[in-house]
Symmetry: C3
Amino acid sequence: MEIIIWIDLAGTFVFAMSGVMAGVEKKFDLFGVIILGLATAVGGGTLRDLLIGSTPVAWMQEPTYIYLILSAVPFCYLFGKWLSRVTKGLFLFDSIGIALFTILGLKKTLEVGLSPMVAIMMGIVSAVFGGVIRDVLSSEVPLIFRKEIYAFACLLGALAYLIAVSYVGDDFAIVLSVFVVLLVRIMAIKKHWHLPFSIRN
Amino acid sequence: MEIIIWIDLAGTFVFAMSGVMAGVEKKFDLFGVIILGLATAVGGGTLRDLLIGSTPVAWMQEPTYIYLILSAVPFCYLFGKWLSRVTKGLFLFDSIGIALFTILGLKKTLEVGLSPMVAIMMGIVSAVFGGVIRDVLSSEVPLIFRKEIYAFACLLGALAYLIAVSYVGDDFAIVLSVFVVLLVRIMAIKKHWHLPFSIRN
Amino acid sequence: MEIIIWIDLAGTFVFAMSGVMAGVEKKFDLFGVIILGLATAVGGGTLRDLLIGSTPVAWMQEPTYIYLILSAVPFCYLFGKWLSRVTKGLFLFDSIGIALFTILGLKKTLEVGLSPMVAIMMGIVSAVFGGVIRDVLSSEVPLIFRKEIYAFACLLGALAYLIAVSYVGDDFAIVLSVFVVLLVRIMAIKKHWHLPFSIRN
């Protein structure tokens, strides 16, 4: 299914933009902005590859990713003003991106012979860890710990894929998984869902 | 010595709890709390395995650890109030935990053929790095840099083990090492020990 | 060219000192100071080795580095006052250090068969990531994101080396590269160069 490659590239680009924009907001210089874009875009896949022992990590062997990420910098510079108005478009891309990153991470982990539970965890790591690095490097408490049940959407997407894949095949399971992630995130925003957790005392 | 496995599991559980409680204090959502519990419990062993080149990292190949860590979340939710009253019990568990994590890390590093000095360092990393990740992810200056000569206790425990093991055998050396870690930490608290360091100017 | 080893050791020592001094400023205890010194000195090379899959990481196989880094602690304690007056000397060492770390990282990455672009990135990682870890662990926004086109100097140094090496040989290309890094950093300070980046809105 060649469309996966295209959406993977689109997801990478969206992640790179989110890193670049974070760096701009924090007034990092050009190089800091590039590093933050790179770290956000490849951070999740890199940690996954390190943990499962698949090195050199994936993006190093495919220069397309690096060029794509670097191109996010002039893109944000030229269209930054316009970008802040199309948040909804970014939200769509970002949701499709994390759904696909989750599935790609999940599959790669299963391929090296690890258990489905670990594969789900590595899928989530692939999808969300780039954002964690972005937030740590810009001295923010990682967003993922505070908002939008971001990682939870990935978990449900991963479960949807794993359950569906044996019944309906890879392609449709991927579509279903993307749909689940989108749905959870949209519902979370519309209904102000969050995952409460407090200790009674 | 099968008891090591049990105390390793107990140590893992205590580390997971400390991550969960830190996430609760920072008002992370449920997923953030789970991630912080996981990162705290497996962070040290993960960094050790990455550095010595033993991948996939250990906890991925043994689902028991993951279930145990996940179970720390409902446990803290149900017994959080009670837990804050039994700090002394936690202190005991935590000290035994870091002593055993130190020895396990030390042995694993020696087994891949690295020097005793590096093995000691990897032992300490195994014991303390989970706490460093916990603090970095919750935007705190890592506790280890400020308090209780925590890592120093691990260093003395590691030395005690390495010196004793050739004379008294593995089992007794482990007991001695746990005893040394406990003693150093108790003394540090009773006598307000700390490791001073300041530049004269 | 044996002088590389010496300057590599000198660079390692300067990085260790910068970590130690940062720990002292933040009032870390002795152990925290040692860890910060170690992390700063070996952090860049460690991340590079992890990413390119060369484990156990380099410094673990050569105890000289560890002893050298540890010796930075008493050195800073004894000469801390004097050190703060010789900032220019440190600047020279530090610049030579990052230039050489860049080239060493670049060469090692090329040796495992990765592309020149990735090799340049890994060269920069080797040179600057220790400082990023130092700043993250001491709860600072990484300096590299804010000042002195530090990483940019490494990039130009790496390009200078890569272009020159086929014409003038390894030794002279290294000297040229160090010269480029020094020149860029001195000019950046004298002329208040920085890499501006802002989104128009």
